[in-house]
């Protein structure tokens, strides 16, 4: 197998420009930007809080979709052929905040320090937090964050997480709320580990972001699909999840996304018994700032202009941290165009 060739635009590093760029976050956005920038002769250092580069592609998305080796070899090529330096286990933060995957970092570097020490900085830190959905009982034991769950499973296979950390799901009833890529992958993995999986979605399979194709593969594997329901509260026993109470919904008028809005039906409550519950919704961007150092919008995304520049001159942002949850291709596209702007800006063209 060969690695993803992030430096697909050139054969070898051209003459050095002497400019230094720091990239925060080694997911597809950060690595692709690095590939472009080294092809323009800039020196690139990449900071990431995880023990190795790759982002969600390496640590969360299941192996049967994106092979670990393909990502690893790609990241390695940047290091060996293009002199990219990785600073793993290094969290970049201005202010303080706890995010998912924080158990791995050993050092903290301030974003403002990077701005001082480099000619330009690119933030590509993705969405590494899951917001509480705000219904009664949503903090009971047995409620798992999708990122954490998938990360434990894959992390254990990669040797980063002790096997004991992965809950024994054999024969357990796992409920998953949501129908995006995250929900689908959580369902695949729980099913593979022997759980009885049920997915609950507030619209119908037609509107499901992951699409009927993926969901039907899961159904063929025994995952139950439950549509037109929305969680009302989680019922616990001795502090642990015991069941979920759901409300039936019907589809009303289209909302701003053009999909018909789910309207809960009064008095339609019913309960489903569960051992674990995964809220695969509400993932939030995790910019390396908490406070006003750079501007974010009300959904926590970093605000950028048409050049991908943030409110701080010389700091750019790309990928899910600027867009909210999307797909690998969108992160790659953003990484490329942000890198084009960084290169122009470094050469004084804009």
């Amino acid at each position: 197998m060969r690695g993803i060739k992030f430096s697909f635009l050139c054969k070898e590093k051209p003459q050095r420009t002497g400019k230094r760029v720091a990239i925060v976050g080694a997911g597809p956005a950060g690595l692709t930007a690095a590939g472009y920038l080294v092809c323009k002769g800039h020196d690139v250092d990449i900071y990431d809080k995880m023990p190795e580069p790759g982002g969600l592609m390496l640590f969360v998305i299941p192996e049967f979709r994106i092979p670990v080796e393909r990502v690893r070899l790609g990241a390695k090529e940047l290091e060996e052929e293009f002199e990219v330096t990785y600073y793993p286990k290094t969290k970049v933060m201005e202010g303080e905040r706890e995010d998912e995957g924080d158990e791995f970092y050993e050092r903290v570097v301030k974003l403002s320090e990077l701005r001082e020490n480099y000619d330009a900085v690119l933030i590509a830190t993705g969405i590494w937090n899951v917001g509480r959905i705000g219904i009664p009982g949503d903090d009971l034991e047995g409620i798992l964050s999708p990122l954490e769950l998938l990360f434990w499973i894959k992390g254990a296979e990669l040797g980063y997480v002790p096997k004991e950390k992965v809950p024994d799901l054999r024969g357990k009833r796992v409920g998953i709320i949501g129908a995006g890529l995250t929900a689908v992958d959580a369902a695949f993995e729980c099913n593979r580990l022997g759980a009885e999986v049920e997915i609950f979605y507030r619209r119908t399979i037609r509107e499901a972001p992951a699409g009927a194709y993926e969901i039907n593969i899961l159904r063929n594997r025994g995952v139950k699909w439950f549509e037109l329901v929305t969680p009302k509260r989680v019922i616990g026993e001795n502090g642990r999840v015991k069941a979920i109470e759901l409300l039936r919904t019907r589809l009303g008028e289209p909302d701003e996304t053009g999909r018909r809005r789910p309207v809960p039906i009064e008095g339609s409550e019913f309960q489903v018994e569960l051992d674990y519950l995964v809220f695969a919704i509400g993932m939030v961007p995790t910019p390396p700032v908490n406070g006003s150092y750079i501007a974010t919008d009300r959904r926590g995304r970093i605000v950028v202009d048409s050049r991908h520049m943030t409110s701080v001159e010389g700091i750019f942002a790309a990928g899910d941290v600027a867009n909210g949850p999307t797909k690998v291709s969108r992160a790659i596209k953003d990484g490329l165009y942000a890198a084009v702007s960084i290169d122009r800006w470094l050469r004084g063209e804009s």
Binding site: R2, F6, F8, L9, K11, P67, L193, Y213, I332, K333
Partner: protein
Amino acid sequence: MERKYLYLDYLTCIGCETCETVCDFIHDGSPHIRIYVTENKQYLPINCKHCDDAPCVRVCPTHAIYRDEDGAVRIHEDKCIGCLACLQVCPYGVPFYSLKVRAITKCDMCADRREEGLEPACALMCPAEAIQYGPLVMVLELVNERRAKNIPEHRRELGEEELRKSVSSGYVLL
């Protein structure tokens, strides 16, 4: 020069759209590999297959379509009269008429990049390694190997537990 293939292995593709994205990037917004989203939301990248016995080459009345030394099926833009005969016969609906260029534009297996010794961008960047570029033997061996890995699982009765453990079989075991 040895004939090259650009093979898209749909059983390995995860529909992430990266191929279209990088093709779009290097062709200023007019990608030659395009994602077609089916009604049940399967994301299918469609590109020119550079067919061995290419109907587009045979049908073109002005002989504007030719095969280059690496095996890519290409267009002489100045010979193309825009009759769309090639579109009629292409099983994949690949030939795309550009009003700007006033000729068919289609995948040329990254001709400019090949001149610099670079390989087609989609194949290099696909995270799932679903696109193979190279001589036919290389492509076939790789795909055969992938499929072969699944055969024992098809043929043998697997226990529930073994089935669950097999990660290589995301789609194939259905």
